[in-house]
């Protein structure tokens, strides 16, 4: 494969000067089909892009014809590391994530997954080999927990015995074994439990890569802290390549082996958690400041 040679041996995902922009003002419903036909994955992307437009992913002026969400991104994500993409809303972090599993394709540049450009992958095969967890879990309301977890194995036509064994294993992994969780519907679960099922579903087919888009963002603070701690443990054990999107520096520091900070669609910092806090970039400082306030406990309530 010609692209293989440029990739470091242990790279699992690589962005090569990737820019992603959308033509026209954001349109959701009446988007003409084939608006992004240059992506080369029209069939699969057309549904995905509609949702991308609903998210405040990028900077755009109201009348511009091209809205650039991320520009000139070069980034290597090594096998087994947990890379956290940190940034404010609209900084482009979700866009980067969606470029990895070809929910989006780059306007220019290329994204290599396991040494192969995403545009060369069959998008279905690529996505089934990558776990994906989103905020609010996105569980199928008409599927039981077991059916949700079994999604990718079912799509890949595993035999029934193997699927049920795997579902049981996954439930145990995320701490939902015991009880009747397998036969419940998502509406019968708490937010935290739903998110656990989301993680179990993403891991069911044992993907090498796991993408997580603010998975704990919608949870109450106590449950969130609980899941963050457990997931940090889990991540260490699993040795997956994890790309984790968040706007919460605390979460980033807890989970990351490396933090990539995005601002206005550009990478402004890329370092280990330890070094990250020492960086002088104003955006790093801004994030650090939000953390500092909490640590010092100098809110109004602390003053007597």
């Amino acid at each position: 494969m010609p692209t293989q040679s440029q990739v470091p041996a242990n790279a699992n995902i690589q962005f090569n000067e990737v820019t992603y922009g959308v033509h026209g003002t954001p349109a959701r419903v009446s988007r003409p089909s084939g608006q992004l036909s240059d992506s080369g994955a029209k069939n699969y992307d057309s549904s995905a892009i509609g949702e991308a437009d609903g998210r405040p992913n990028g900077v755009f002026s109201k009348n511009s014809t091209q809205r650039v969400l991320v520009s000139n991104i070069s980034l290597t994500i090594s096998a087994g590391e947990t890379m956290v993409l940190l940034g404010r809303s609209g900084s482009g972090k979700t866009t980067l994530l969606r470029l990895i599993n070809r929910m989006l394709t780059p306007t220019s540049g290329s994204v290599l997954v396991k040494g192969r450009a995403t545009t060369e992958w069959d998008p279905i095969e690529l996505r089934r080999s990558i776990g994906y967890v989103i905020q609010e879990a996105g569980l199928f309301p008409h599927f039981t927990v077991a059916e949700n977890i079994a999604l990718v194995p079912t799509l890949d036509k595993w035999d029934a015995a193997r699927i049920s064994a795997r579902v049981a294993e996954m439930l145990k992994l995320v701490g939902l074994d015991g009880g009747d969780f397998a036969s419940r519907y998502p509406r019968e679960l708490s937010g935290g439990q739903r998110q656990r099922v989301g993680v179990a579903r993403a891991l069911a087919a044992d993907p090498e890569i796991l993408l997580m888009d603010e998975p704990f963002g919608a949870l109450d603070p106590v449950t969130r802290a609980e899941l963050q701690r457990e997931f940090a443990e889990l991540a260490k054990r699993l040795k997956k390549t994890i790309v984790f999107v968040t706007h919460d520096l605390r979460e980033a520091l807890l989970l990351a082996s490396r933090i990539v900070l995005l601002q206005n669609g550009k990478i402004v910092a890329n370092d280990t958690p330890l070094n990250f806090m020492k960086l002088q970039h104003p955006e790093v400082q801004a994030f650090a400041a939000s953390l500092g306030d909490i640590r010092a406990g100098n809110g109004a309530g602390a003053v007597r």
């Binding site: 009446s30 089909s33 699969y44 599993n101 996505r127 996105g138 199928f140 008409h142």
Partner: protein, 210 residues
Amino acid sequence: MNVYTFFTTHGAEIFSTTLQHMELVAIAMVIAVAVAVPLGILVVERPGLRTVALGAASVFQTIPSLALFGFLIPIPYIGGIGERTAVVALVLYALLPILRNTYVGLTEIDPAVLEAATAMGMTPWQVMWRVRLPLALSFILAGIRTATVITIGVATIAAAIGAGGLGTFIFRGVAMVSDAVILAGAIPAALLALVADGLLALLEKRLRVS
């Protein structure tokens, strides 16, 4: 002649006319569902076709029913006097509620669910059959229910073009200035509508995914 005597003396005729009415409605509904549901699926990803289809279906609904039956009579193949013309008109009327509900049901799905479905590697076909359609089912059924109730009512007018049905009594009663005869058509038609509405509501409730 009061209503009760008419019902007792013409019981058999009322019964067979009611059956004929039901047949008319059933045929029209089967065709309408067979056309509108697939069309609703098709328009999800095709905004151009969607505008045309929903627009056309809306236009049919605005044509006064008696006029629509009249318009169809001179048209070759689908027109003429009798049941076939009536079925065509009823289908045209039933399209909009089914089509619109199918489309709305398929599109008003939590974006996170659709995002997950695609991102986990479902093909567009699988997203439609395993996610969108099951989740839209109660919506689609609600559309079919509305359409059925409308069709039962509109089908009474089909008697004007010789298609038979409970409208026969209504038109006859109007001509005879007899409430009893009018009610012989109106009461069974109203009961049919209520029963159909109730049964379909029950089915809809059972299929709803909250």
